[in-house]
């Protein structure tokens, strides 16, 4: 059951990246609140230092969404797959009211040392994947008349980030895309919001190359002898105004649900920070 007693009875929700991590928490919360939920995940191979979801995670998602839900292996980088999968999800759910774009990956490398594949994996998934899904979803969301889009970006979309220039660029670009789209789809009754989570305790954060970036400090100046999760978590506590190690997954889920639950368009175009207090360092 979701943490804030919201009900989403009968609402038809697609969650990309919904079989693991934050996406799975979002899918489970909507399902628990009465929504009919479609989950996409299990993309093709990428050069990451943590495992992507696969068949086992999709099976678990099937149990979560139940018989009224829908689960499919979809790689959002592949526009052809998305073109086929979106109508299939809409057919399975009997329409579409909500899309949560939570499919995203992260690697860590400075721009001077970054491989071409590292740039492509992150930008293709996080930015192009978001576009592919949203473009195909706009028709069904318009038919709904109360469409809701929530794009999961990242707190690195609010500032520069050492060792994460590809991830930051994609997150900033996701925000630019979402704000542009908010203008375009208001007339069809669709609201667009962005949630920027800080670092969460999910599979994505079980990544030694990412620990090393955290250990180096926000300006990358601290010497790192070896990646160490404990040292990375200490660095997070030091950096976070809340003094928490991680941004709370439940808090991020609630932010998503609040944007979805808002009945009108007053919050369209908004960017909501759920980042263990890092919003205190934002200029606006």
């Amino acid at each position: 059951m979701n943490g804030n007693s919201m009900t989403f009875d009968g609402r038809r929700v697609l969650v990309t990246g919904g079989a693991r991590g934050l996406g799975a928490a979002i899918a489970a919360s909507f399902a628990g609140a009465g929504a009919r939920v479609a989950v996409w995940d299990a993309p093709g191979a990428m050069a990451l230092d943590y495992p992507l979801s696969g068949a086992a995670e999709l099976d678990a998602a099937r149990a979560v969404v139940g018989p009224t839900g829908h689960v499919a292996a979809v790689d959002v980088r592949d526009v052809a797959q998305v073109r086929v999968a979106l109508p299939a999800a809409v057919a399975a759910l009997g329409g579409l009211d909500v899309v949560v774009c939570a499919a995203g990956v992260r690697t860590a490398a400075t721009a001077a040392t970054m491989s071409d594949a590292a740039w492509d994996d992150v930008v293709d998934t996080n930015l192009h994947g978001t576009f592919h899904v949203l473009r195909e979803a706009l028709g069904p969301l318009g038919d709904s008349g109360r469409g809701r889009i929530v794009v999961i970006a990242a707190e690195e979309g609010r500032r520069g980030a050492f060792g994460l220039s590809h991830y930051a660029a994609a997150a900033w670009a996701q925000i630019g895309l979402a704000k542009s789209l908010a203008h375009e789809v208001a007339e069809q009754g669709t609201a667009v919001g962005v949630v920027c989570p800080g670092v969460m305790d999910t599979a994505m954060s079980a990544d030694p190359s990412y620990w090393a970036v955290l250990q180096a400090g926000r300006d990358g100046s601290l010497a790192v002898t070896a990646p160490d999760r404990g040292a990375a978590e200490h660095a997070l506590r030091v950096r976070h105004p809340s003094s928490a190690t991680y941004a709370d997954v439940g808090a991020v889920v609630r932010a998503v649900e609040q944007l979805v639950a808002e009945p009108g368009l007053d919050r369209t175009g908004a960017v909501v920070d759920v980042s263990a207090g890092l919003a205190a360092t934002n200029t606006a």
Partner: protein, 277 residues
């Protein structure tokens, strides 16, 4: 003022528009020039430069006495950009300035946006800037000096209806620049974005753009769109001139801007005053 005497500057998108203006000004101020342009049309984009225009930029630059290397390259290709940097180092020994200026525009609502209209605009404006920066970053870090200026846009500071591809790409440039600024700061390399309003070039003056500003007219002329463009900023300027862009970019590339890094400099008639940050 020869404040770039002996410096080597790589300018992408140098065949015309802002890039040509930057190149000419750098030549006048003493720089060695590396002129990079795809010099070919990408189908969805407003008119792009020809090989003849790239040659013409080279001719002007050389007539000003500037040593000049002219390279046809597609900024979307990291491999080609690494080749550009290698050729630059071979010819001039170093790279002092990168103006990651190459960009394209094509419009439409997301719902109807063709694959190439999304992909080509994002790949050139963001991917191409990233490929250019990634190619030059190791060289500038090793030199322990350098100036990188990437061209963003006022549309990188807010949402742009019918322009989501362009807005996404330019927001992405600012996030990229701020990140690389942090990474290269210890090496004395500054990395900034330049965020202009419409600049009076082919990207501004074309049927596609005019149609976006005056969808009510069949074939809007420059006079038809001037007032509409001018509503975007409190100074009520319809578009700035390339020289206005060049002055800002060259300032960011100059010694005087040594402690300016990670910024996005708005040259926008105050449009930016409407923005939250």
């Amino acid at each position: 003022m020869r404040n770039f005497e002996g410096r080597t500057a790589v300018v992408t998108g140098a065949a015309k528009g802002q890039g040509r203006s930057h190149a000419i000004a750098l030549a006048q101020r003493g720089a060695n020039l590396v002129l990079v342009d795809i010099a070919a049309q990408i189908p969805c984009a407003s008119r792009m430069a020809t090989p003849e225009e790239l040659d013409e930029t080279a001719r002007i630059v050389e007539s000003l006495g500037a040593p000049c290397l002219t390279l046809k390259a597609d900024t979307r290709s990291p491999e080609q950009m690494r080749d550009v940097v290698a050729a630059t180092v071979e010819r001039f020994g170093r790279v002092d300035v990168l103006l990651a200026n190459a960009g394209i525009a094509a419009f439409g609502p997301v719902r109807e946006m063709a694959d190439d209209v999304w992909r080509d605009v994002v790949d050139v404006n963001l991917g191409g800037v990233a490929a250019s920066i990634r190619a030059v970053a190791p060289v500038m870090a090793a030199q322990r000096s350098g100036r990188i200026v990437a061209t963003a846009s006022s549309v990188g500071r807010e949402g742009g209806p019918n322009n989501a591809n362009y807005a996404a790409s330019k927001w992405g440039v600012i996030g990229l620049v701020k990140s690389v600024a942090i990474e290269l700061a210890p090496y004395g390399v500054t990395v900034n974005a330049f965020s202009p309003m419409s600049v009076s070039t082919d990207m501004c003056h074309n049927d596609l753009t005019y149609g976006l500003f005056r969808p009510d007219l069949e074939a809007p002329t420059t006079d038809d769109v001037r007032a509409t463009f001018a509503t975007l900023n409190p100074m009520a300027v319809p578009w700035i001139e390339v020289g206005d862009a060049t002055e800002a970019v060259l300032f960011l590339a100059s010694d005087e801007a040594r402690y300016i890094t990670g910024t996005a400099l708005d040259v926008a008639g105050g449009w930016n005053a409407f923005h939250s940050a």
